[in-house]
């Protein structure tokens, strides 16, 4: 939807670029202008944006917890089964022959940590989320190909139909879109 043609409720403005340089500059400016509810969409990771777009990243902590949980589970399970649950003399080895417990402990550590990493990431991204207002914009499809979008949400306290539009326009986007809620 080009600017001014929208009928439905407004989700926000989106500026379309074909050059990552422009996008990064624009995003930085938007941030400086005091906006909080904005997001940059790119076809591949651009590390510079990490510093600009607000947000936190607790993933590493989650993975650590997962790993520790895995290790404890494995070691406790093996020792308990071998020593307490059903103590059996296997080949004359002592019940608590701990060296044999190392491999499985390692494997479960990795398993739990990996699961934590994967589902942690998905959770933090809020996936699965097949429906999202930005998809209302037909041209948004190209963000997974070669276009870079900067979108400022209407619910941002700073948001103002004219000012915001002007701010974005200043960076000569290919197009300036307004995205509807529905």
């Amino acid at each position: 939807m080009r600017l001014g043609q929208g009928k439905g409720l407004l989700y926000g403005y989106a500026a379309e670029f074909d050059d990552p340089t422009q996008l990064v500059d624009a995003t930085r400016a938007v941030r400086q202008a005091g906006y909080e509810r904005f997001e940059a969409y790119t076809p591949y990771p651009i590390r510079e944006l990490d510093e600009i777009v607000p947000g936190w990243n607790p993933l590493a902590a989650i993975v650590l917890i997962g790993g520790i949980a895995g290790a404890l589970t494995a070691w406790i399970m093996q020792s308990w089964i071998a020593v307490v649950d059903f103590p059996i003399n296997v080949g004359g080895r002592p019940l608590y022959s701990w060296p044999s417990f190392v491999p499985i402990t390692f494997e479960l550590t990795v398993l739990f940590a990996s699961l934590a990493a994967f589902f942690g990431a998905l959770g933090l991204c809020g996936f699965p989320l097949p429906h999202h207002p930005v998809f209302n914009l037909k041209e948004f499809a190209r963000v997974s190909e070669d276009r870079f979008f900067l979108c400022i949400e209407a619910r941002d306290s700073q948001f103002n139909l004219q000012k915001t539009a002007q701010l974005l326009d200043a960076f000569e986007p290919l197009e300036l879109w307004e995205i509807e809620k529905e």
Binding site: P20, E39, V53, D85, A113, S114, A141, S144
Partner: protein, 467 residues
């Protein structure tokens, strides 16, 4: 001038210290995406695909028939006996697991080492890993005397109040292999999400859109998506790296923990891991070479990739050669009758052909890779890789058979004779692998698009690109 135009205009220069660029020929974000997604969405499936699929399917059917007969009659349909109670099935298991390793190495270890060139091959290398591990996992199962109670190898609250025996390497195997399969799958899928989104956005019919839409979970390419995606990838890579080493170590424990001469050896873990990567890269090349030809991906999977893979093969091959050399020495140095006897019978016993074939395939012929021609010319390289892959199977076969068939008491010695079912199951498993892989090529992005984009000029703010 748009970025796309600039990209197309920029001449490709090989990165310093290399002869061929990672991406040969002019590409823009658009052309790149088009080239890869079209394989799935628009381009007609090549005849080559149908032919291979037909052959592989036939093999797969043979596999199903064999396994059915096996379950009906018992594991005795194989050639196994006492003393050689393990033979083909375990060989196949080790072989397939080994093949898997290269995939993880490329996707995880090379990622950590920030090797940009890996981006164009890591996706299907990972796919290869997953399917190889899947094939591997089948063999210990069908090899059981009573496969229908395989779950007794897993700890779970049962009415018998009996649990697995955690001192047994076989239980370690269960955990190692299943962990490996899970982690590889997660890693593979996580990496694919953005590309699935690309497919979603470019698919023209509702069915395809729905399919890829569901798989891509609603990926929007938002910067915070990328943030978590990147962190998760790096962490998974970090976890997968020790994992992949541990898996084949644990597999080697199946042998080293046993007291058999020829098995009971501390050199096995590194020996096995090296061998695994060796055979894995051979498989990567065997898959990559025809595919880049058929789908005209020579500009993405370039000579540079072939060259690098070949070099890695050469390196691991030399490690292997070293262990081959050190084994007889240690057994001689130990002065242990039984150890020496095994070495002796490997060289001159009824199965000596395995020993010499191993040396030929894994040590002598691969020395050709010292020559650049053999590293870069697809045909030659394909041949060498094939020899290595075969050689690695024979090597595992040799390790298992020759150690078992003549151990401590001469009265119990025998000469193993394989049965037709041994062979049909092996060939069948290859069919299973190829079928899975072809389906992957047909329906999923076989090259990681978002990582490739990073390698294009002007992909970085300020106009640079990833190294």
């Amino acid at each position: 001038m748009t970025v796309a135009e600039k990209q197309l205009r920029t001449p490709r220069r090989p990165e310093p210290g290399t002869s061929v660029p990672v991406i040969a020929g002019a590409e823009s974000f658009g052309t790149l995406t088009e080239q890869i997604t079209s394989v799935v969405l628009t381009r007609p499936t090549p005849l080559f695909w149908y032919c291979t699929f037909g052959v592989a399917m036939a093999a797969l059917i043979m596999f199903v028939i064999s396994v059915t007969y096996l379950l009906y009659r018992g594991v005795g349909v194989f050639g196994i006996e006492v003393p050689v109670a393990w033979a083909f099935a375990i060989t196949n298991f080790v072989w397939w697991i080994g093949i898997g390793h290269a995939g993880t190495l490329i996707s995880a270890i090379l990622l950590l080492l920030n090797q940009g060139w890996r981006n164009s091959i890591n996706r299907f290398a990972e796919a290869m890993t997953i399917f190889a591990v899947m094939c591997a996992g089948l063999f210990p199962l069908i090899h059981l005397g009573r496969p229908w109670i395989f779950y007794w190898l897993l700890p779970y609250p049962n009415t018998m109040h009996v649990q697995p025996q955690f001192r047994s390497p076989l239980v370690w195997d269960v955990f190692a292999v299943s962990t490996y399969a899970t982690v590889s799958l997660l890693f593979w899928y996580l990496g694919m999400i953005p590309d699935l989104a690309s497919l979603r956005d470019r698919s023209r019919n509702r069915l395809a859109y729905g399919f890829y839409g569901v798989l891509s979970l609603g990926w929007r390419g938002a910067s915070r998506h990328w943030r978590f995606h990147e962190t998760a990838s790096i962490l998974l890579a970090g976890l997968a790296t020790p994992l992949v080493l541990s898996v084949h170590t644990v597999v080697s424990f199946d042998f080293t923990i046993a007291i058999l001469p020829g098995w009971h050896s501390t050199i096995f873990p590194p020996y096995f891991v090296a061998g695994a990567i060796y055979s894995g890269f051979a498989m990567v090349l065997i898959l990559a070479i025809p595919i880049r030809k058929v789908y005209h991906l020579e500009n993405l999977v370039t000579e540079r990739h072939l060259n690098n893979c070949a070099k890695l093969m050469l390196a691991t091959g030399l490690i292997l050669a070293y262990t081959y050399a050190i084994e007889p020495f240690t057994s001689w140095y130990s002065g242990d009758t039984f150890e020496m006897a095994v070495v002796h019978y490997r060289a001159v016993g009824p199965h000596s052909w395995t020993f010499w074939l191993t040396l030929t395939c894994n040590v002598f012929i691969p020395q050709l890779l010292w020559f650049r021609k053999f590293r870069t010319d697809p045909k030659r390289l394909f041949f060498v890789s094939f020899v290595i892959l075969y050689g690695m199977w024979v090597e595992r076969y040799m390790i298992i058979i020759t150690s078992l068939h003549r151990d401590f008491l001469p009265s119990a010695w025998s000469n193993f004779i394989a049965s037709p079912w041994d062979v049909s199951v092996l060939v069948g498993s290859i069919g299973l692998f190829v079928v899975c892989f072809l389906l992957f090529v047909r329906f999923l992005p076989m090259i990681s698009m978002f990582e490739m984009r990073e390698l294009l000029p002007f992909s970085r703010p300020g106009g640079g690109m990833e190294k």
